[in-house]
Every structure is written in C-alpha cells, then in structure tokens.
Symmetry: C2
Subunit: 150 residues, 2 copies
C-alpha cells in the first residue's frame, strides 16, 4: 500500500516537475540581474528531483498512519502551489506574483511539515530540505523581483 501511495504522490509531483521542462529559464532568465547566491543552473533540476522524490516518499509514509488526512490535504495544497509557481515566474514572467505564490507555498510546506512530524518523525525530517530550498528560492525570487523592475 505504501508503494501505491508513493507512486500517487510521485505522479502529483511529476505534474509539478513537468512545468520545469515546459517553462525553461531561457534567454529572459539569463538577462536578469541575479544575486551572488544564485545557484548554477544545473543545481535546480538535481535539487528538485531529490525533493520531489523524498517528499513523495514522506507523504506515502504518513498516508499509512491512521487519521493522517489533514497531512495529505496539506500535501495537496503545496503540490498545487508548487505546480503554479514555475509557469507564473518562467512562463508569464510575473516576478511579483511569483513571490506571492512562493510565500503561500512556503507557509503550506511549514504546515505540512508540522503535520508530517505529528504522524511520522522521518517524514517530518524529510520535509526540512524542501523548506530550506524554498527559503532560498524565496530569497532569490525576491531579489530578482526587486533588482529587475523596469
């Protein structure tokens, strides 16, 4: 059953990941003023792949625990917001709205992490790198937004 859950959460994550394949950074992103802490391009797909797989696994662990519905509802919120961010930023080039989406996503992931901790310690721990990455992404989105108003 945990495998079924893992595959379902992975499928949801794959939908989010697909946005990164369809809406690539491209010329527009290269031309933006970016802060010194911007990771090199290759880091992004590597980090996201790890995060999608590990959080899907964490959610599958939680799904097996009785009464964990609230944690899965929060997973649904964050995966929808995650799917939304890339098209907003890289597709529509809406930096300010991207920031809004990221703040909502960050809050949803904090809530999901707390819920995961309640049902499964390892699952909660697995969300920490995701939250750390989103914090970096938020700082990056904020600086890119602030430094590229024209």
């Amino acid at each position: 059953m945990t495998l079924t859950y893992f595959l379902l959460f992975l499928a949801a994550s794959a939908a989010a990941a697909a946005t990164g394949i369809i809406f690539k950074p491209g010329e527009w992103y290269v031309g933006l003023k970016k802060p010194g802490f911007t990771p090199p391009n290759w880091v992004f797909p590597v980090a996201w792949t790890y995060l999608y797989v590990s959080v899907a696994y964490a959610a599958a662990r939680v799904a097996g625990v009785e009464g964990s519905q609230i944690a899965l509802a929060l997973f649904a919120v964050q995966i929808a917001l995650n799917t939304l961010w890339t098209p907003v930023f890289f597709g529509a080039h809406r930096l300010g709205m991207g920031m809004t989406v990221l703040v909502c996503l960050w809050a949803a992931v904090v809530a999901m992490m707390l819920a995961f901790f309640r049902f499964d310690l390892i699952a909660g721990l697995l969300v920490i790198p995701y939250l750390a990455w989103l914090s970096l992404a938020s700082a990056l989105n904020f600086r890119v937004w602030r430094d590229n108003r024209s």
Copy 2:
C-alpha cells in the same frame, strides 16, 4: 474539522484556478479554428468555479471518513494535473501536450471518483459533473489540436 478540510481543498483549487486568471485565452485562442460545440467564453469561469468549490466540498466530506487517505492522494494528483493544464495550453500553446495532460487528468478524476464513492455517496456524485466537463474539455482540446496544425 470538515470546514478546515474544505478550506484546504479550496486553497489547493484556488492555486489551480489562478492559472485561468494569469493565462487568459487572448488573441491566440480567438484565432484558433474551434469546433461547433465550443461553449461561449463566459461558461468556462462559471463552470470551473462551481466545479472547484463542489469538488473541494466533496473531498472535505471524504476526508472525515476513516481510512480515506487513498482518496486524498488521488485528489492531490488531479489538482496538480489541473494546475498544469492551463499554462501548457494557454501559456505555452502546446496543444498536443495539453491533450496528454488532460488524458492523465481525466484518468486521475475517474480514479478519485471511484474512491470518493467508496467513502461517501454524495462526494462521489459531486465528482460526476467534473468528469463530464473534463470529457467536453478533452474533446475540445483534441479538435483544436487536430484542426490547428500548421
């Protein structure tokens, strides 16, 4: 507790709905060859608003039933795919890929509907209009894809 669930599933749906505000049909859509059964533009936001709210309510009903985790995992899959479709179609103008996303979404919603029926009759029934609408959207996406290859 059902209200909390409802608000969470509504938040996930709002992320999906936001794509419709950010990626509007516009000139490009107006210029496409469309089949006779294409609904007028005003029908889309009305239909989607009803569907998002009613399916969020259905999911909240199911979330209150013991052992319903599988149904919520399927909700997460469909809401991520739902969020993906609009940017792919109206943002990237990728009609073939939009079709692929819709077929996956349709399958995920069938699975979710069956799971909802297992836990709550009304919740299952509430998904039927969503499935009907996705069937129409699939037919529409397919015809637009077929009739606008250039």
